[in-house]
């Protein structure tokens, strides 16, 4: 193993004497990780939804005696979508072109139904096709749910007022018709003025029972409207920038970029510098050369990975956020960094052997790294094929290892599985790199 160590030490010395290259190699993946984080945040943000008002909703609508500013109400509840008012024709065209993810249409008669408090008014939701549709549908269902929450108070109040009318009597209005009733109280008073008889007693008993039952209706109606109430507590979880996934992705992206490009570039550089001819004259075996480049990827990954972990740990402490064990789990994460660095180093060695010269290796390295990373970011539920493809590259296994090692209460099963994947990928890509590296020596 002495030649491996000597070549590794030489590569580290070369890297040390190339601070600009080293700086770019470290900064570039961090910038990419940040951009991907921002893109992910944007993807999780507000899709545009067209709002088509065919009923001419007034700014203020009074329902069951309560007044609602419709614009404010929609803005209030539409936290996860960007509502854009437009005509029916524009909405149809923009949905077709994908500029809006969905169209919500308020049909004619909506406000009349809403004010009538008798039948439920309807909204129409039209969605496009593609991966974002299920999410938009969920968000629109949430929007209607939140609208209902706001409106149900008015509906409940109206129902309770009807019950009170039945109890105490008075004037009311249903479907545009005014009426006046005496209520159970008036009925009782009238009955008490009539001569005593068994029939009178039975009717009085019924009136008493009915009054008691209706007196309980108030709470029953509220409970029926909301069988389960969700009380929201102020969250103490991490901000998205400190979340487990962001840390795991940031670490994995940096290591994948660094490890792959360094191993590919360093191996191809042996040929560029014409040193490979000297090495293969019995000084260093081709297999040892591949191992040395994998070792370079591992060494740099461990150094940079440790710095990133410390950086996140400090940010977590300074931010005073809870959850995870930023310091205690560092050794475990570094084991993952070692496996991940070896696997991406093996892929890099293969790229370097096939590319044969370092500029091509760098270009091919970037061309390989980006799709490997992006394909690993696609959720399995949206494109299952992407998950299968990403399984044969180290990135996604590194992400799972890091996320589990950082935050799972019992990570052992996950990290054992992902470590096995990474070791297997190192062996496979390393073996192919060993076979391919002969190209460098010719």
């Amino acid at each position: 193993m002495r030649p491996v160590w000597l070549i590794l030490r030489k590569d580290l010395l070369v890297l040390w004497r190339s601070p600009a290259l080293l700086g770019v190699l470290i900064a570039y993946p961090l910038v990419i990780a940040l951009l991907i984080g921002l893109t992910a945040a944007y993807a999780n943000a507000k899709p545009r939804v067209a709002f088509v008002d065919l009923d001419g909703i007034p700014h203020v609508v009074t329902v069951g005696g309560a007044s609602f500013n419709i614009d404010h109400l929609i803005n209030d509840v539409a936290k996860n979508v960007e509502i854009v008012r437009m005509s029916q024709g524009d909405a149809k065209s923009q949905l077709a072109s994908g500029r809006v993810a969905a169209v919500v249409t308020v049909p004619q008669g909506f406000i009349a139904d809403l004010k009538g408090l008798v039948s439920s008014p309807h909204l129409t939701l039209a969605t496009g096709s593609g991966g974002i549709t299920p999410r938009v549908r969920q968000q629109m269902q949430a929007l209607v749910y939140n609208l209902n929450l706001k409106l149900q108070k008015a509906f409940i109040q109206a129902d309770i007022e009807y019950v009170n009318l039945l109890l105490h009597g008075g004037k009311g209005r249903v479907l545009g018709h005014d009426f006046s009733i005496i209520g159970l109280d008036g009925t009782k008073r009238l009955l008490e003025q009539t001569p005593d008889s068994p029939q009178r007693k039975k009717v009085l008993d019924f009136v008493g029972d009915a009054r008691l039952a209706l007196a309980l209706t108030n709470n029953a109606i509220r409970a029926t409207a909301s069988p389960i109430v969700l009380d929201e507590e102020k969250g103490e979880g991490r901000t998205s920038l400190l979340s487990a996934q962001v840390q795991a992705y940031g670490l994995a992206i940096t290591i994948t970029f660094l490890g792959l490009l360094l191993a590919a570039g360093a191996l191809a550089a042996e040929r560029d510098e014409n040193a490979i001819g000297r090495l293969v004259r019995g000084l260093v075996g081709l297999g040892q050369l591949v191992v040395a480049k994998i070792g370079l990827a591992v060494t740099v990954a461990l150094g940079v990975g440790f710095a990133i972990l410390v950086g996140f740990g400090v940010a977590v402490e300074v931010g005073g956020v809870h959850g995870g064990e930023p310091w205690q789990r560092i050794p475990l994460v570094l084991v993952g960094v070692l496996f991940a660095g070896a696997a991406v180093g093996a892929v890099g060695a293969l790229v370097g052997a096939l590319a044969r010269e370092s500029r091509t290796a760098s270009l091919v390295g970037v061309l390989v790294v980006l799709p490997v990373i992006f394909i690993g970011l696609i959720p399995k539920g949206i494109v299952p094929v992407a998950a299968w493809v990403s399984d044969v590259f180290p990135f996604v296994h590194a992400v799972r290892f890091f996320a589990s090692a950082l935050y799972d209460r019992s990570p052992w099963e996950t990290i054992a599985r992902e470590a096995a994947w990474l070791i297997g990928l190192t062996a496979v890509f390393g073996a192919i790199a060993r076979l391919s590296v002969r190209r460098l020596a010719t």
Binding site: L6, K10, V14, N274, A275, L279, R281, L283, T442
Partner: protein, 217 residues
């Protein structure tokens, strides 16, 4: 090896794809001998030298080196790490060779001792650095590919002295050259190649008056 040769090539040939760089060639190099490989560009000289050095695998044939013989190889193009200084390059290869004294070679070949990257040195200095690396194992067989191409007259004389020193100590020198002065000052024997084939193998004096030399001019 029972011929007494320090280095022997038996039927070595090399193809790069469909292009034949070197046809089947036999060559023996004995102790106390300096052999010059001559020929026009693309004749197969550097290919043959790299095969003799073990830096390039032949497509056919074998190369034998006498047991325990140490060989040093100086290729035509710079073959060292451009970002490392001459000193660091010599250290790396000395450790890999488990031999050599970088300080002595730096001094003997008058190489820069500062921390400048080798890539920033002049062509001549880089050529001398390559020569220094090839001398690290204290070679008994020295394989040089156009070693004087970028050297000034003083450094050229030093190189000839070094090559003669190896030969006179019972070792062997094989050098690729286009330079008649190299033949005069170092070589005892000339092997001329044309289109991958050996067309002459004999003493320098015979070569200079041969048809092969005329053809190659």
């Amino acid at each position: 090896m029972n011929t007494g040769a320090l280095l022997a090539a038996h039927g070595v040939a090399r193809r790069f794809g469909s292009h034949v760089a070197l046809e089947s060639t036999d060559l023996e190099v004995h102790g106390g001998e300096a052999v010059a490989l001559v020929g026009p560009n693309g004749a197969g000289k550097s290919t043959l030298l790299a095969i003799l050095a073990g830096a390039l695998e032949p497509s056919d044939g074998t190369v034998e080196r006498a047991e325990g013989v140490r060989a040093g190889w100086m290729p035509q193009r710079p073959a060292h790490y451009g970002r490392l200084s001459p000193r660091q390059n010599l250290d790396v290869f000395a450790q890999l060779e488990r031999a050599g004294d970088p300080d002595e070679l730096l001094s003997r070949l008058e190489l820069p001792t500062d921390d400048r990257p080798a890539a920033t040195l002049s062509v001549g200095n880089r050529q001398r650095l390559d020569l220094a690396i090839s001398l690290l194992p204290d070679p008994q067989v020295l394989l040089l590919d156009e070693p004087t191409a970028a050297l000034d007259p003083r450094q050229r004389r030093r190189l000839w002295e070094t090559a003669r020193g190896v030969r006179d100590a019972g070792g062997a020198v094989v050098l690729v050259t286009q330079n008649l002065e190299d033949l005069e000052h170092v070589a005892d024997r000339v092997v001329a190649l044309l289109d991958g084939k050996v067309i002459f193998d004999g003493p320098v004096a015979s070569y200079l008056t041969s048809e092969a030399a005329g053809a190659l001019r």
